[in-house]
Amino acid sequence: MDQKHLMGDDEERLDALFQTYRKACPDPEPSANFMPQLWQKIEARERTSTVFVRLARNLVTAALALSSIMALMVTVSHSRATSLPSDTYVEVLEEDHARQNLDYFEPVRVDPIADHR
């Protein structure tokens, strides 16, 4: 019973301590520099974010330019490649092989026997 009473007493004391703390820390009057300093901080952060935005934009522009140059280079090298023989090694081999086969299968000419006496 006494223990319970003491515990309840502690709860009340703790509440009282929090209330005393509330009174001991009233809302302070802001200093005269509060607003100017706040706007300075806002402007400084805006400047920083502007620098980052510019940096990001420049990076994007550079990346676009680089990809355009690379695309151009790929196109040029591709068009050059088309002027060269387009057949692959296998195709050339196959063509050659076919020609040889034709030679092989060419019908044999047999001269007619002149005098069959």
Binding site: D9, E11, R13, A16, L17, T20, R22, A24, C25, P28
Partner: protein, 196 residues
């Protein structure tokens, strides 16, 4: 609400003058809350400016003017929490450099410089500070918002976007921990006026 919804909407839409008015209306209340949450009057303005700085850059995300105050309190609680976390880290490294004797002497010298009232306030702040040492920084801020700032569970639910029952459980546990420290504390409670 200390201001009209129209002013909040104007500030949200990028009107600098409206934002200025908004800060002027709320700064005293917010500085008071921060002072009680962090317990270090010398850093209150810095943390307060951080709150309004975050407000300035996040105001465009505000859905409606009705939720402005919970939004502002959320920013306040977050800024106080960030400050407390950094301070604890700083204190740990600083305390590691000083011997116990040096800390005692420094404390004694500091307390002789302040007048009686301020000394008593300081003692109360220190008592509460040491009691809250046993709970995490998040629970400390939450408990102070409830017990000292007097916010209801409903208001806290809106600020933290958490179910009221979950908040109740968390607050109960935090309070029990503080109560335990309070009981075991050998320091006499300073300036208590008895029961409410």
């Amino acid at each position: 609400m200390l201001v009209d919804f129209e002013l909040i909407i104007r500030a949200r839409d990028g009107d600098g003058a409206a934002f200025n008015q908004l800060v002027l209306a709320y700064r005293k209340r917010i500085l008071g809350t921060i002072g009680r949450l962090i317990g270090h009057p010398e850093d209150v303005e810095d943390v307060g400016q951080e709150v309004f700085l975050r407000l300035y850059f996040s105001l465009d995300q505000l859905r409606s003017a009705e939720v402005f105050e919970p939004w502002l309190y959320r920013l306040t609680a977050n800024a106080a929490y960030d400050y407390l976390r950094k301070r604890r880290r700083r204190m740990e490294s600083r305390m590691a450099d000083l011997s116990e004797q040096q800390v005692t002497v420094a404390d004694a010298l500091a307390s002789t410089k302040v007048d009686h009232d301020e000394g008593q306030r300081k003692a109360i702040r220190e008592t509460v500070d040491s009691l809250l040492d046993g709970v995490s920084q998040e629970d400390r801020v939450l408990l102070m918002m409830k017990e000292v700032e007097g916010l209801s569970l409903k208001e806290l639910g809106k600020i933290y976007h958490v179910n009221e029952n979950a908040l109740k459980v968390r607050l109960f546990r935090a309070r029990q921990r503080v109560l335990k420290s309070f009981r075991t504390s050998r320091k006499p409670a300073v300036g208590l006026g008895g029961s409410r």
